[in-house]
Amino acid sequence: MTDDLDALKSALRATPAPDAAAKYAALALAMDNFDHLQGSTDAPRLSQDRPSQAGFLNGVRTMLMSLKARPYLAATTSAAALLIGVFVALPSLQPPAPVMPTGLAPPVSTPPAAPPVTLEAAEPVLSDSAAAKSAAPSDSTVMAESAPAPVMPGQPLGGAAATRGYLIAPGQTAGGTMGLVAPADPTYLSAPDTEAFANAPANPVIVTAESPVSTFSVDVDTASYAVIRSSLTAGQLPPPDAVRIEEMVNYFPYAYPAPSGDAPFANTVTVMPTPWNPDTRLVHIALQGQMPTITDRPPLNLVFLIDTSGSMGEPAKLPVLIQSFTLMLAQLNPTDQIAIVAYAGSAGQVLSPTAASDRPTILRALNSLASGGSTAGAEGLALAYQIADDMAAEGRVSRVILATDGDFNVGIDSPDDLKTFIATQADKGTYLSVLGFGRGNLDDATMQALAQNGNGTAAYIDTLAEAQKVLVDQLTGALFPIANDVKVQVEWNPAQVAEYRLIGYETRALRREDFNNDKVDAGEIGAGLQVTALYEVTAPNSPALLNDPLRYTAAPPVADSPELGFLRLRYKAPGSDTSKLIETPITLGTAATDDARFAAAIAGFGQLLQSAPYLGDWGYDQAIQLATATKGADPFGYRAEAVTLMRLAQSLSAR
């Protein structure tokens, strides 16, 4: 008798899983409706008279925001589960200190004192509109966001709420930086974080006799460093995947020798002892781009493509974006033209091409931006490029600047098509730069891919100070490439170098044959910017060799040359399709500058964050010591900030 019921029951229990896309759409719709119901699409209503649990819920939210993984990853890979463990476990380990809102400059990221370019025009603008903007919709939100999470595990909450603590399973990873494992049960992950980072496994040690040539493309992005800073200042170690060492090293300005004559950039090679291994040496390759006179620069056509999806409403996103662009506006020449396209739900032109001198119109358009709707990146992108095409004129430089907090899920059929589209546009002369805002939804991998294909840079703006660096101090470099498709190839001399390892540049590796192929895309060097690459090399017969010589392969004939290797650089002058070649032998002799040693300290810091296996006993203490000793003048405090971050990382990893 009950068999009938049991059969019906088991049939009923086996319902199909909901369609992921439909679920996503339904949830987005619900959130939109929720926002509309609050009477404003600007920001969720967070009024003073909310129930007392609200503060606690914002605490929950802050924790949710810092939960770093997708549930299905957690279910399938233990690596992802480990990742979650770190972030989920942290709140319980943290004292209930106020969580820093990333939108405001946290004490750690001391803003640069003075920009080198005059800012007097920016002041009144900042005080009226940008400041007013931030005061009106976002201030209350910021306050609520930064409210301390007054919840300790086990502490009962008012009313029906109860913390059931954290399900933390003890565990240990090989690297030892993470000691906690989260249960890999996707059903517990009710608020999956959708951050995705572009990275590849760390470059291995390569035996010179087997593969003497190393090829990569330059990378002047700095997004990784800002993501790391934002994680550390929020009291969390960054996910190892977010660490791209070359972007950390290239974040800092260095005083490398400037090019002379017409050369677009100069290269300097220094060989120095490796800080973390007395038996190896570091080869420091520095490229310094030429700084053209700013007043001589060609007029710019800038199309701001701004993500105004619902998630951009957070204080660290749209408000910071608007302030950042306001800062940038002061750097533009009156002949520059600006257009603004917003994308969310349906793409639309917010500001038709306007001269940069018409500040009131531009500021009004910027401040009218409000978030709402779902993200349709591709649609807006097409419109932005179309406007850029319409604006194009002889002698003007066109660039689309995409500002977003996340992915391009809606409205794109294939990410590859999107990349192809962007690459085609870059070939036609319109470059794309990508600015990332906010955390939690940030699709670093897509940002990287788009900027790389668009011949532009990807930067992550976590504070107004960072906006200052990217959009004010380094604006010229970011917008005016002086050398395109810059490729680096090093051929190592097996007589002097038995093993070598390129530190960082994993996502920028090129095949050896691609070096001479001008069709293969590579990174750009902007005006006045520096690019640094570091190799760790091991001499033959050094005790630090990691690979034994092969028994059955005859030793290759070794040229008796004192050179460590031979550096080849290829680049294209802007507008040219054929590359030029620069060749330099790598020799011992030049003394290491403080700049080079500071770069080494940062590379070491990056490897510590990645738990790289090459550092031996060298730890944060040594990194801090080295970075402090080589800080130099540090006029803007970037290096001092790096030391602070190292100290934070040290404390966080010690727990």
């Binding site: 019906l8 369609d19 409706n33 967070l46 949710l64 989260a182 009710s190």
Partner: protein, 180 residues
């Protein structure tokens, strides 16, 4: 892992405007709504649309949630009511369609034939009246107690017990038929 704030706390905060609480609540319960919608309608597409409608309406509905019932009970009630509304609309449409002449009648017949070919679950559920189907979906599908199901459906526990007895009868009759 994650701190488990209970639904009621989240719902209260969401009702007073906490966006993140609402997002969390919705993510937590989407699958539940979809599951019940599927059990009530027997169609994946139908359940999907229904769930979307419910999600869209939930922010407004939440304002009416006063915390007298458990949140899940209330959510089940919302889902069941939404299904009823949808059924009513379909019924009206079906009646209108029946007047469309021979072509439409032939099409309806064909659809009915296809429906017969569906699996045992659909067959069994189709034998039950809408009330019995709702009850089965909650008691067997969602594993509610008869008291809870009564709460959701707005009927007494006794009524649910009686309905379940009816379901058993129908199922037995169906099994007997199959045996013949």
């Amino acid at each position: 892992m994650l701190m488990e704030t209970d639904d009621e706390t989240l719902a209260r905060a969401a009702a007073s405007g906490d966006r993140s609480a609402f997002a969390l609540l919705l993510r937590r319960h989407y699958d539940r709504i979809f599951g019940l919608a599927f059990r009530l309608t027997g169609s994946r597409a139908e359940a999907q649309d229904l769930t979307q409608d419910i999600c869209a309406a939930l922010p407004a509905k939440l304002a009416s949630w006063r915390g007298q019932a458990r949140f899940t009970t209330w959510l089940y009630r919302v889902t069941v009511n939404a299904t009823h509304d949808r059924r009513r609309r379909h019924f009206t449409r079906a009646k209108a369609a029946s007047g469309w002449g021979d072509w439409e009648i032939a099409r309806q017949d064909e659809m009915a034939t296809q429906a017969q070919a569906l699996d045992w679950l659909t067959g069994a559920m189709q034998r039950l009246s809408p009330e019995l189907r709702d009850t089965v979906a909650l008691v067997l599908g969602e594993e509610l107690t008869q008291a809870q199901a009564g709460d959701v459906l707005g009927v007494s526990e006794g009524t649910v017990a009686w309905r379940m007895a009816q379901v058993k009868k129908r199922l037995r009759a169906m099994a007997d038929e199959e045996a013949k």
